[in-house]
Symmetry: C2
Subunit: 307 residues, 2 copies
């Protein structure tokens, strides 16, 4: 029996298909299929049920899974026991909502990679909750603290959101001094049925009923605002990336949210993951603080300033 087949088994169990597992492993799907077959014959059990859309764990495979995960944990533990207390290395896949993925992670991860030459970071921006248990990512950043599951959770940093619009848009409209002045302006926000987390329902919190231009991506929303399409809620840390975009009504509408880092319970004792998480938390916190400090502090009456 080839121990390495357990590695392939684990990938297939998580990917639910030979081809997806092959993509993630970097080997051909046919090889994956043959390895699974070999394992099944070696163990003399049927590990998967073959459905038209892929492989799904059979009861026997379900029983095998925890053992395979134990082996995987021991395997990574072995690697990091030898790599010593030096730098962080290897591959890590971080899932994040796209605001974080666009405006924060690139710089933070770039610094991380520079500091640790052996480190390889993959940023997966997705407008949905991650399925960590299937290892779609090694760690995920979320906008709310998950309640279920036995994951390892830590608060990364707080951040602020405010209403904002491009100065060109503002100068073409009556000045906005109170919340009531928003009436009749074109609002930019989330596609309502694609809000995957209650915390993202910013506009509802401000009392705006309906947005006219919507997207499931905050980065797209930001681009819309930058293009002068209207008014929307944006992350303060994104504003420095969009010259000309100014916050409005900062006294009346101000939201605070937090990023949370979610990790596998299995990784709790992983030296590498712990250090990685710590570095990520520090980097994100510092970057949010830096970016929020760059946002021009406009007085209510002087929306115009530098470019």
């Amino acid at each position: 029996m080839d121990w390495d087949d357990m590695r392939i088994f684990l990938a297939v169990a998580r990917a639910d298909s030979l081809s997806a597992a092959g993509r993630r492993l970097g080997i051909d799907a046919s090889t994956v299929g043959r390895r699974v077959l070999r394992l099944e014959t070696a163990l003399a059990v049927k590990l998967f049920q073959k459905t038209p859309q892929g492989y799904s764990l059979a009861p026997e495979g379900e029983r095998l899974l925890p053992h395979a995960e134990t082996i995987e944990a021991a395997m990574t533990g072995a690697s990091e026991a030898l790599s010593g207390p030096g730098g962080i290395s290897g591959q890590v896949r971080i899932g994040a909502p796209d605001g974080c993925a666009n405006y924060l992670l690139p710089q933070v991860c770039a610094r991380l990679c520079a500091a640790h030459p052996g480190l390889e970071v993959q940023i997966v921006a997705l407008p949905r909750v991650f399925n960590l248990s299937r290892r779609e990512a090694d760690m995920a950043i979320a906008v709310s603290r998950p309640t279920a599951g036995k994951a390892v959770i830590q608060r990364l940093t707080d951040y602020n959101l405010h209403l904002a619009a491009h100065e060109d848009y503002l100068s073409g409209h009556p000045p906005i001094r109170t919340r009531a002045d928003l009436k009749g302006l074109r609002m930019i926000g989330y596609i309502s049925d694609m809000i995957f987390d209650r915390e993202l329902d910013y506009l509802a919190e401000t009392g705006v009923e309906r947005a006219a231009l919507t997207s499931n991506s905050v980065s797209v929303q930001m681009q819309a605002i930058r293009a002068g399409a209207g008014v929307g809620i944006v992350h303060d840390f994104a504003i420095p990336f969009c010259p000309g975009v100014r916050r409005i009504l900062t006294d009346e509408v101000s939201l605070t949210r937090s990023f949370w880092l979610i990790r596998h319970a299995d990784d709790r004792s992983s030296q590498r993951m712990n250090r990685l998480a710590e570095a990520l938390a520090q980097g994100l916190k510092a970057e949010v603080a830096r970016l929020q400090g760059l946002v021009p502090v406009e007085t209510e009456m002087s929306p115009a300033g530098r470019t």
Copy 2:
């Protein structure tokens, strides 16, 4: 990184040489060497120091070892999680002192194999203590309860030993009625400097100073007695195998010893090993009882009986 290389690493670490590891794994030594090399390059560490008499673990390898053992345990755990509560299967290597290995284990293990078709038993008869931590055997039978180590220990069965000689030898010598009558008879026993366990120093216990014909193997001693070479201490359970050998002075000289089963601490939670140990214990106990019951109960005055 190929997880299967950990299996090879483990074997080399235990065998202390590529060739020995290859023999145990059933693959060529050159392949073993290449796999180790591949693992070392994958981990970028030197796992072994190459000595003229083989490979020995380098400090880095020492750190890797516990992880490899964890993986091994998970691996066997995986197998037995799937094999279900049916029979016992797989390979097991049992080390035993040669008296046990010759007169008890063959029948007991034969029955075990018959009851569990998938089971493959290897009996290693060796006149020395086993090094279980290096997996020279999966379990070992010993004549005394070991004090050191964190092994799993259980008492298997008690057994008796008595002085015995062949009836042809007895009829050619004056009758033996007391211990003093032994004086001048040729004694058969252990080679004194090869006694590997205090419990084996039977003759000293009887007051005999020196044996004239000695061996490190109780089975050889038994053959000598059967050939009429003299008087010696033998296991009662061995007597039925040697027609013509009769016990003497049973009232004055009678020893009782115990067999102990020693297993790896790592195997403590292994369903398979537990069941195997239980079956072995029951089988041995029953076989000792059966064989001791076959020993003719001779009166002091009538050494002659049936063949």
